[in-house]
């Protein structure tokens, strides 16, 4: 593959605003967040005084064993769940605290693990959904800018297909396009590539990095996959097994734009080793805790 070849996704100018200089929106501050679930009276401490600041335009990846509260944290930011105590701020604006709940909003778009494109809408109808229900822009205008975006993301030919008719990799791309149409302050991605095969996954990594490099959106990305975490993230946050706390933050100082060659670099392998050690310890604890529960 030629060194000079650029296959970077070109985003429309409106989404490209953050490209020059430091992005100014999308700082997320998580302060002392605690979440206690009480199913059937038994209290389960899911998150225990988690604090984390994600800077505007940062690509932050959260890793940790299953049930460590990653998704709980994401749901709290998205406004799907309340929290027991602590505060979450988006650009110094209080999203939620122990006393205040937030409603989900188009400034924090979630891309779900199994994907959530509406099967009854075509690709184009899915992509324009946000602006249409928000009613801020005229339908014709939304449509043409969506077609533009789909074209620039290499999805032009499928705009009138239903999600069932396209491949899983394409569905993920459409979902990211649907999120980007709303010009969100932060993208919340909950293991978005988990169900994909390894090849599609690597294509999607490149794709997401292109979207990130050209839009400079703040990204909150949850995964189990350490290689993915280090390849994509600017910082990797390792969480402990339940109760979820922040165990370690790994700064990924690999320069951007990144491509697959990063995966064989010394720095990448070094960081991966560091992350594996941190996560492995937690995974073992989670496993033993599971054994105790079963015993």
């Amino acid at each position: 593959m030629g060194r000079n070849r650029t296959d970077t996704v070109q985003l429309p100018a409106t989404l490209n605003s953050g490209n020059r200089g430091k992005p100014s929106v999308g700082q997320l501050r998580i302060e002392e967040v605690t979440k206690i679930y009480s199913p059937k009276g038994a209290n389960v401490l899911a998150l225990d005084h988690c604090s984390l600041t994600i800077e505007a335009g940062e690509f932050c990846v959260i890793v940790g064993p299953s049930g460590c509260g990653k998704t709980t944290l994401l749901n709290a930011i998205a406004g799907f769940h309340d929290i027991t105590s602590g505060e979450i701020y988006l650009d110094d604006q209080l999203l939620c605290s122990g006393k205040k709940n937030t409603d989900p909003g188009a400034d924090r778009i979630v891309v779900f693990q199994q994907g959530a494109l509406f099967p009854w809408y075509t690709v184009l109808e899915n992509v324009i959904y946000g602006p249409i229900v928000q009613g801020k822009t005229a339908a014709a205008e939304v449509k043409s800018s969506a077609e533009n975006l789909l074209g620039q993301m290499g999805l032009a030919g499928i705009s009138h297909n239903y999600p069932n008719e396209i491949s899983s990799g394409m569905r993920r791309r459409v979902e990211i396009a649907r999120a980007m149409m709303n010009d969100p302050k932060i993208l919340l991605l909950d293991e978005p590539f988990r169900a994909l095969d390894a090849l599609t996954k690597s294509v999607m990594h490149k794709y997401l990095l292109d979207v990130y490099d050209s839009s400079q959106k703040t990204i909150f990305f949850i995964t189990h996959d350490l290689e993915e975490a280090i390849f994509l993230g600017s910082r990797v946050v390792v969480m402990t097994t339940r109760p979820g706390r922040i165990k370690k933050v790994i700064e990924v100082d690999i320069p951007r734009p990144r491509d697959y060659r990063v995966l064989s670099s010394d720095r990448y392998l070094e960081l991966k080793r560091e992350a594996i050690e941190a996560v492995h310890e937690e995974a073992r604890k989670a496993f033993e805790a599971g054994e105790r529960e079963l015993a």
């Binding site: 989900p104 188009a106 779900f112 509406f118 009854w120 946000g130 229900v133 297909n161």
Partner: protein, 271 residues
């Protein structure tokens, strides 16, 4: 021709008329029907046990020749269709909003679900005596009984459809800025359409069962009564014609619903 057009059967898209005629599925279906008729004819001629007592297809066809010239036969069709569709349509008008409301409002569901669950196991035919007493005309009681046949199926299918909507869709829609109204019209309703059409197809089948039985008990018209009358008169070929007519009528009704369903849920065909 566009492949977007819904196909009239599960055989897939038919692009041309020869495709439709020489379609494998249709071809096999026709062979099966012809073989079944041949077997039936042979069985009656050789007087097989049980099957041998049924009038032969040849005698049924001969008797059919007379019956189709009789306006009474076609009136029976019309009367039964009217009862079925009237009861069915009222069941949609009442059942669809009720099922949707039960699905989206927990308070309302808690209030209504127990009543529905107690009423549902009562077979519609058990309502015939009460219906005859309470409704002013026999026609109304007949329609009421057919209504019941489709009503509970509709309500429960729609309720199930709403309750089974994946929370991801609702969350994604909220995240994209939907109001409650948007959630209902753009998420809940389309997501429920497949179960709605399943309910309609099943409900239509029950409606025909109910109308035929009700006509035998409490009416002097319709395809059910025609079959019963033929039995009383000892006209065996006419019984068979009555039965086949009911089968064909049910098939036509279900096909109409399937067709409407495939038009309104185009995303389901493409897999």
């Amino acid at each position: 021709m566009s492949t977007q057009n819904p196909a009239p059967s599960s055989a897939g898209s038919w692009n041309t008329i020869p495709d439709a005629i020489f379609n494998k599925t249709a071809y096999r279906g026709i062979i099966a029907i012809v073989l079944a008729i041949l077997f039936w004819e042979t069985a009656t001629r050789l007087s097989f046990p049980v099957i041998g007592k049924i009038p032969a297809p040849s005698s049924v066809i001969a008797s059919m020749n007379n019956l189709v010239r009789d306006t009474y036969y076609w009136e029976s069709w019309l009367v039964s269709f009217k009862r079925v569709f009237l009861g069915f349509i009222v069941a949609q008008i009442v059942g669809i909003p009720l099922g949707l409301l039960m699905g989206i409002r927990r308070y309302f569901r808690d209030l209504t679900f127990p009543i529905i669950e107690v009423m549902r196991p009562i077979p519609p035919l058990a309502w015939v005596p009460t219906a005859v007493i309470f409704w002013p005309t026999p026609e109304m009681s007949m329609t009421f009984v057919t209504f019941l046949g489709a009503f509970f199926t509709m309500v429960l299918n729609i309720l199930g459809g709403v309750r089974n909507i994946d929370i991801r869709y609702v969350r994604a829609a909220r995240s994209l800025g939907s109001s409650d109204r948007d959630i209902f019209w753009r998420i809940v309703l389309p997501a429920t359409l497949p179960s709605l059409f399943t309910g309609m197809t099943v409900g239509m089948g029950i409606t025909w069962e109910v109308v035929v039985a009700a006509e035998m008990i409490a009416s002097r018209s319709g395809l059910g009564f025609l079959t019963w009358k033929s039995y009383v008169a000892g006209d065996f070929p006419a019984i068979v014609i009555g039965m086949i007519s009911i089968g064909v009528a049910g098939y036509i009704s279900s096909s109409l619903i399937r067709y409407a369903g495939s038009r309104l849920t185009p995303w389901l065909k493409v897999i």
